[in-house]
């Protein structure tokens, strides 16, 4: 029993070391290259590898060379059994305010072994409170939105993509 525990402990330590040494900045660059193929560019950002997580600050988001907005903080954490990507204070380009609400206070996307079939999404901002998930096995996205009153009047066209299910706005899609 003792040798098995010892082996498990060594395996755990090895994984932690591997995650610590993981070239996170270069992984981020590779992700950027993939996003570029979709014409999405994160630019002028400051990147800091802090061991188990990667901190990105003041990233300017461009889509099709059009400035979309600025994200104050992005945090990417990888612990194999629990991974998360969080955005804080994302401000949309003012010129786009006719289509989308101006600010996202936080948006968190996490994958945990506790809930292995879903990538859970949660967030809050001018759009209201967001809860949802992505199920990569059946390629399904479901987002529940609780918008503030002014959202309904200002961004009716956006909210029309949501279904009203017992008072909660729900967006469902398969990709």
């Amino acid at each position: 029993m003792k040798p098995i525990l010892k082996a498990l402990l060594y395996a755990f330590i090895f994984i932690m070391m591997f995650l610590f040494f993981l070239p996170k900045v270069e992984l981020y660059y590779t992700l950027e290259k993939e996003l570029e193929k979709q014409k999405i560019v994160l630019s002028d950002e400051r990147i800091e590898d802090s061991g188990f997580s990667l901190h990105i600050s003041d990233a300017k988001l461009y889509w099709n060379s059009v400035f979309g907005g600025q994200i104050e903080k992005i945090k990417l954490s990888t612990f194999l059994l629990h991974n998360s990507l969080s955005f804080e204070n994302a401000k949309l380009n003012h010129a786009l305010s006719s289509f989308l609400p101006g600010k996202i206070e936080y948006l968190n996307v996490r994958y945990s072994i506790i809930n292995p079939i879903k990538v859970v999404i949660s967030g809050n901002g001018d759009i209201g409170e967001i809860k949802g998930y992505i199920n990569p096995f059946v390629k399904e996205i479901k987002i529940e939105l609780n918008p503030p009153a002014n959202m309904r009047s200002k961004y009716g066209s956006l909210l029309r993509k949501f279904k009203n299910v017992e008072g909660v706005l729900v967006y469902e899609s398969r990709y």
């Binding site: 070391m17 560019v41 099709n64 059009v66 010129a95 006719s98």
Partner: protein
């Protein structure tokens, strides 16, 4: 004691080896990953901003502040004779308008006089299609076109039907009207419907599918089925370029929209005053 030291050193060596393997693995990964990030590169080749012939800079535009000074000066100077003005063009819109005239006392320099503004003691009270009426000391003075051939700069935009514009005509658009549309993006889509035209997977322009009568787009001379291919000589080959124009239009003083109409390329030029 020796046994303990051996055990600890064995553990340390094992941990060191594990760290070494972990590092080696990460370095192997590093070999396959990107070494440089992606940045949005602005167009570093400098292109001069589009600028059409600008009357406002070239000639004297009559502003209220200037007139106040002139009014006090006029008290000591001999009375200005309105016959010194030669009416060249009239622009009239729902919210106002202005006239362009040559001032003989200033070596035939062009002057812009806005409706209800004052020029050398005369207030421009009203404008019609071919006449400008000034007022001074409760007396009306009429200024009419002397030569009509030179009326090519601005034309009255009759409503509700838009005029049939000729090529080489520069139209005038009020900055306030442009601002109104840039502030309220949704109002654009109530007035005009455009859709990208894609050929071989690439956008070749934006087709005008609908224009509401009486709106600014109607007055601008755009027509249904026009294909907008360039703005200020910059080709409209993506949403990004279209959006860039939208973002910059507030700073523009002149605008040139190149369209394909009836298989012919046509430039629609505007002064934003």
């Amino acid at each position: 004691m020796n046994l303990d030291i051996n055990r600890y050193s064995n553990t340390l060596v094992t941990l060191f080896v594990l760290a070494l393997v972990a590092k080696a693995l990460s370095l192997t990964m590093l070999y396959f990953l990107e070494k440089k990030g992606v940045s949005q590169v602005s167009d570093i080749t400098y292109t001069m901003p589009y600028q059409a012939y600008r009357f406002s800079k070239t000639f004297a535009i009559v502003e209220q502040k200037v007139q106040t000074k002139q009014k006090t000066a006029a008290q000591t100077k001999p009375l200005y004779n309105l016959n010194s003005l030669m009416l060249k063009a009239i622009y009239k819109s729902k919210n106002g308008g202005f006239i362009v005239a040559l001032d003989k006392t200033k070596n035939n320099k062009s002057v812009f006089i806005k409706l209800h503004n004052e020029y050398n003691g005369y207030t421009l009270k009203s404008i019609t299609q071919n006449r400008a009426t000034f007022e001074r000391n409760n007396q009306e003075y009429k200024l009419e076109f002397v030569e009509t051939k030179s009326m090519t700069m601005f034309k009255k935009a009759p409503s509700p039907k838009p005029p049939s514009y000729d090529n080489d005509v520069i139209r005038a658009v009020a900055k306030t009207e442009v601002h109104k549309y840039t502030k309220d993006f949704k109002s654009i889509w109530k007035s005009i419907a455009i859709k990208e035209v894609v050929k071989n997977g690439k956008i070749t322009g934006f087709k005008v599918n609908f224009i509401k009568e009486g709106t600014i787009f109607d007055k601008l001379g755009l027509k249904k089925d026009d294909l907008i291919i360039a703005v200020n000589n910059k080709p409209m080959l993506s949403y990004a370029s279209a959006f860039k124009v939208y973002g910059e239009v507030n700073k523009m003083t002149s605008l040139k929209i190149t369209v394909i109409r009836n298989n012919q390329e046509k430039d629609l030029e505007y002064e934003i005053y």
